[in-house]
Structure formats: structure tokens, C-alpha cells
């Protein structure tokens, strides 16, 4: 019998232990796997969260960028419309004021639009009104073409002067001008500049007349009235047609003051006088009672100015000569622009080139305007109508008045020169004797 063999391989017990160990290992691995799976899931979730939050941030940033761009666009659009509004305003100011104020005033208006009250504003201004004497009569003896040339040459000269004194031309009515100093921009020296401007206008008128004389056109004269007062300035008119204008009783009063002037004269009101007295040269003063004004008004006739606007009007060299024989005249008194219907008689006893002493049959009021015709010693009427203003009623006798001719047609001028020449001749002969 063969000997018993030792058992081969591990014992059953060892195998069981190994199996147990393997099971344990599998269980651990399974746990680890589960843990890893959980961790993976957690990591994925976390990554998702992160990604979501990044996406949110990205969305927010995109939104903010879009908002910023939109906002910049909105600001640009605002700026554009503001620029357009400003351009329209500039254009409006240039169109409205450009022709009537100097370029530097336009520039100032553009720089400081708040100084410009377009809606209408009450403000103190100095008003200048000028009128050419005898223009209507002159226009009648000139060809239409000549009238326009003449008028334009005159206006060009005056506008030039006015703009150089920073005046604002409100109105050009034929040969008359309405000018403001103190609107649309106020300056401290508005009244002073207005008076200086009037002096400069009168002096320029002399130059214009010199030009006209070369062309054979008779001299013309201009009267200027100035007043300082409160007015309303602003845009007046309808939607279709609007202009920078002025209203107020001060404007009407300036017109009245102007109506008291004779050719070459500048009359100013007490309010303007008060503001300029320190630098003013006054030749004389007069008291008037304008229509619609309760108290008498003192007017000052300006002959010059001292200071920075130093200007002096030439002294009129009028010599009245006594006529050996009084010249008969027939006259009517003007009421406004119309001649009255009643014809009066009178006699001129003294005569200068622009002045005369007149004896009237019926008393006339100071500052009346007369339309008159001369009669030759033979009794026939001298051709041509003259216009004259009563500038003084002689104190000794109310029927004796001084008149100043405002318009003398060529034919009448020849007649009067002859009369005066005759007088000189007589005087000369008397001297010889």
C-alpha cells in the first residue's frame, strides 16, 4: 500500500481566508468607486455652478458694455441735437441782427446768449431818431434812379457810422432811421455813444453833401432827436414775419423831439442830458410842450462832446442881412405831413442862406412847419415850394418870427441868392459911398 501523500496547495481554511480578504477588497473598491462617483458628480456640479456664475458675470459684463455703448450713443445724440439747436440759434441771431448791428455785437450775442432776451424785455435804452429834411421835395426833382443812388449813398454812410458806435438799427423808413443804444446788449455808456453817434452822423452828412455837390445834387440836412427811457424790446410780429423791434412811449417822445429839430441839429431830452452832461457841449436849450406830454420839456441842442468821443459840429456861419425891400410870401402851416388848407401872407425882412426873419399876418406857434412860396417884387410867384420851421418867436413882437429853411428848391434858391446878392451889392455900394 502506497504511503499517504501530504495535501497539495493551500489548505481549505487558507483559501477561505483569501476569499474573505478578496471580498473585503472588492467591497472597499466598490466604496471607493462610489465615493469617486460622488466626487465626480460634486466636481461636475461645482464646475456647472462655476460655469453658470461665470456665464452670469459674462452676461452682466456684456449687458454693462451694451448699456455703456447705448448710453454713449444717447449722449452723442443729445450733443448732436444740442449742436444743431445752437447752430440754428446762431443762424437766427445772425439773420436777425447781422444786418443791423456790428459783427462784434453779433459775436457777443453768440457768446453770451443769456444776455439776449428775445421774448421781450423792458429795459432802459437811448433812442436815436433821424430824418432828412426836404428829402421828399428833393425826390420830386430827381430821376427815380438818382433818388435811389442818393438814398443808398446816404444810408450806407449813416449805417457805417451807427455800427461803429455799436448802435442797433431797428428801422430804416425811407430816409428816417430808428436806432437803439442799449439793446440787445446794455453798456454803461449807451447814452454817451448815442450822442457821439449823432455828432458823427452830422459830420458824415457834411462829407456826403460834398460828394453830392460834385454830382450837382443840392445839399440835404438831417435832424436828430435823442431820448433815454424805458422801452420793451423783443421780437414783434407774426410767425411768418418777425423782427427785432421796440415799443414804448419813449419811442414816440423821441419822434416828437426829432420833429423839433432843424437841419444839422441834434436835440436831446433831459434824461439823455443827465447821463452825458459831464462831456457835453450844448449850444442852447429850449422849452417845448410836445403833444401828449403833460409838463413842458427842456431840450438841449448839442454842438459837441469832450472826452473819448471828442467831436464838434462846425459853427454855422449864417449872417442875416436886411433886405432893402421886404419880400412877400404866401404860406400854409403843416399839420403832420400834410399842408393845412388856409393860405396866409407874410413878409421876409431879413435873409441868410438858411434863415429868415418873417413877419406874419396871423400868429404862428413855435416849431410850426411852414410850406411857403416867395413873390417877386412884381407880384408874380417864384417857382418852387420852400419848407421852413419856426425856430423862434421874437420876444418884442409875436408877429415877428425866425424861420429856418428845411428845403429850398433850386429855382427858389437862385431867387433868394439874387435877393441877398442884391443886398450885398447895395451894402458894398453904400460902403463905397
Amino acid at each position: 500500500m502506497p504511503a499517504a501523500q501530504p495535501p497539495r496547495g493551500p489548505s481549505r481554511q487558507a483559501l477561505l481566508a483569501e476569499v474573505q480578504a478578496l471580498r473585503q477588497r472588492v467591497a472597499t473598491l466598490e466604496q471607493e468607486k462610489r465615493d469617486l462617483e460622488v466626487m465626480l458628480e460634486m466636481a461636475t456640479d461645482h464646475a456647472d455652478d462655476l460655469s453658470e456664475s461665470l456665464q452670469q458675470e459674462r452676461d452682466d459684463l456684456e449687458t454693462m458694455l451694451e448699456m455703456t455703448t447705448d448710453h454713449a450713443d444717447a449722449l452723442e445724440a443729445d450733443l448732436q441735437s444740442q449742436a444743431e439747436a445752437l447752430a440754428r440759434r446762431s443762424q437766427f441771431i445772425r439773420e436777425t441782427f447781422g444786418r443791423y448791428v456790428s459783427e462784434d455785437v453779433v459775436a457777443q450775442l453768440l457768446d453770451a446768449p443769456e444776455g439776449l432776451e428775445l421774448g421781450g424785455a423792458k429795459r432802459k435804452v437811448t433812442i436815436l431818431m433821424s430824418d432828412v429834411r426836404g428829402f421828399t421835395a428833393l425826390a420830386e426833382c430827381l430821376e427815380p434812379q438818382e433818388v435811389m443812388t442818393f438814398l443808398n449813398r446816404y444810408l450806407e454812410a449813416m449805417v457805417d457810422v451807427i455800427l461803429s458806435y455799436r448802435g442797433t438799427i431797428i428801422e430804416i423808413l425811407g430816409d428816417g432811421l430808428l436806432v437803439l443804444f442799449g439793446a440787445p446788449l446794455t453798456r454803461d455808456d449807451d447814452a454817451e455813444r448815442a450822442v457821439a453817434c449823432a455828432l458823427a452822423m452830422q459830420l458824415r452828412m457834411e462829407d456826403t453833401n460834398a460828394l453830392h455837390r460834385q454830382a450837382g445834387v443840392p445839399d440835404i440836412e438831417m435832424g436828430i432827436g435823442i431820448h433815454t427811457g424805458e422801452v420793451v424790446v423783443g421780437h414783434i410780429g407774426s410767425q411768418q414775419r418777425t423782427k427785432y423791434g421796440v415799443v414804448g412811449s419813449a419811442v414816440n417822445l423821441t419822434g416828437r423831439i426829432e420833429s423839433y429839430t432843424t437841419g444839422g441839429q441834434i436835440l436831446i431830452s433831459p434824461t439823455t442830458y443827465a447821463e452825458t452832461a459831464a462831456v457835453l457841449m450844448v449850444s442852447h436849450q429850449m422849452t417845448v410842450t410836445p403833444k401828449g406830454v403833460a409838463a413842458p420839456l427842456t431840450l438841449y441842442a448839442v454842438s459837441g462832446m469832450r472826452g473819448i468821443h471828442a467831436l464838434t459840429l462846425p459853427t454855422p456861419t449864417e449872417t442875416l442881412v436886411s433886405l432893402p425891400q421886404a419880400l412877400d410870401v404866401r404860406y400854409t402851416v403843416l399839420e403832420g405831413k400834410f399842408a393845412g388848407s388856409t393860405l396866409y401872407g407874410g413878409r421876409v425882412v431879413k435873409l441868410a442862406t438858411r434863415m429868415a426873419e418873417l413877419h406874419v399876418d396871423q400868429p404862428v406857434a413855435a416849431f410850426s412847419n411852414l410850406k411857403l412860396r416867395f413873390l417877386r417884387p412884381t407880384g408874380e410867384v417864384v417857382p418852387g415850394e420852400l419848407f421852413a420851421k419856426v425856430v423862434e418867436i421874437l420876444p418884442e413882437d409875436a408877429s415877428r418870427v425866425m424861420v429856418r429853411f428845411t428845403s429850398v428848391p433850386e429855382a427858389a434858391r437862385t431867387f433868394l441868392d439874387t435877393m441877398r446878392g442884391y443886398e450885398y451889392h447895395v451894402i458894398n455900394r453904400a460902403e463905397q459911398v
Binding site: 449687458t63 454693462m64 451694451e66 447705448d70 444717447a74 449722449l75
Partner: protein
């Protein structure tokens, strides 16, 4: 907490939980806007029921400014219990165009333009 400057002012009234921005915001970049953002975020951090940002007298706001307000809105968004109200004015055209964009960041933002 107020910021007073010649060109702009920021007033925070804690009692009414209102921040009023006035004048013209023309500051440069995040750095210069930091003090304003600080006032705004502090107002949000108080977590009031309603937080009002009154921009009716804010005439001008530059792009860095809109960015600052956006940051404020994002900051306030985290407090879901706070209702953000933004007040604007038709007087300033940019407000009509830009303020409604804040609702893209915070759909619940209440916008009042008068």
C-alpha cells in the same frame, strides 16, 4: 453720507433709503467714481425694503458714470428682499434712453420717469 462738489452732489437719506444724485457726473474712470459707488453700495447693504435712486436732477452722466450705476444695481441684486426704485426725468433725453437698460441687469427694478 453726502458728497458735495461744485458740479455734482450725492445725498443719502438713510431714513427714507433714498440716494439723490444731482448736477453733472463727469468724473474720469472707476477710481474717481469710487466714493459715489461707496455711498450707493452702503445704501444697498442696509437692505431696506425699498431703495430709491433719484436721478431726476442729474443733468449729465458720462459712460464711467453709467458703469458705476450698473455696478450698484448688480450689488443691490444680491439682496432679493430689496426693491430698487430708480427715478428719472424726461427733461434729460439720455435718461429715457439709458435708465431702462438697468432692468436688463435687474428685471425687478422699478423705473419711474416723469
Amino acid at each position: 453720507m453726502d458728497i458735495i462738489h461744485d458740479d455734482y452732489q450725492v445725498h443719502y437719506d438713510a431714513a427714507t433709503a433714498t440716494v439723490v444724485c444731482q448736477g453733472s457726473f463727469r468724473l474720469r474712470g472707476t477710481e474717481e467714481y469710487a466714493p459715489i459707488l461707496q455711498v450707493l453700495t452702503a445704501a444697498a447693504d442696509a437692505q431696506p425694503a425699498t431703495l430709491t435712486l433719484d436721478l431726476r436732477t442729474l443733468q449729465f452722466l458720462n459712460s464711467s458714470g453709467i458703469n458705476t450705476l450698473a455696478k450698484f444695481v448688480l450689488h443691490a441684486r444680491q439682496y432679493q428682499a430689496t426693491q430698487v426704485v430708480m427715478k428719472g426725468s424726461h427733461l434729460f433725453p439720455w435718461q429715457e434712453k439709458s435708465l431702462k437698460n438697468f432692468q436688463r441687469l435687474l428685471p425687478g427694478l422699478h423705473l419711474e420717469i416723469e
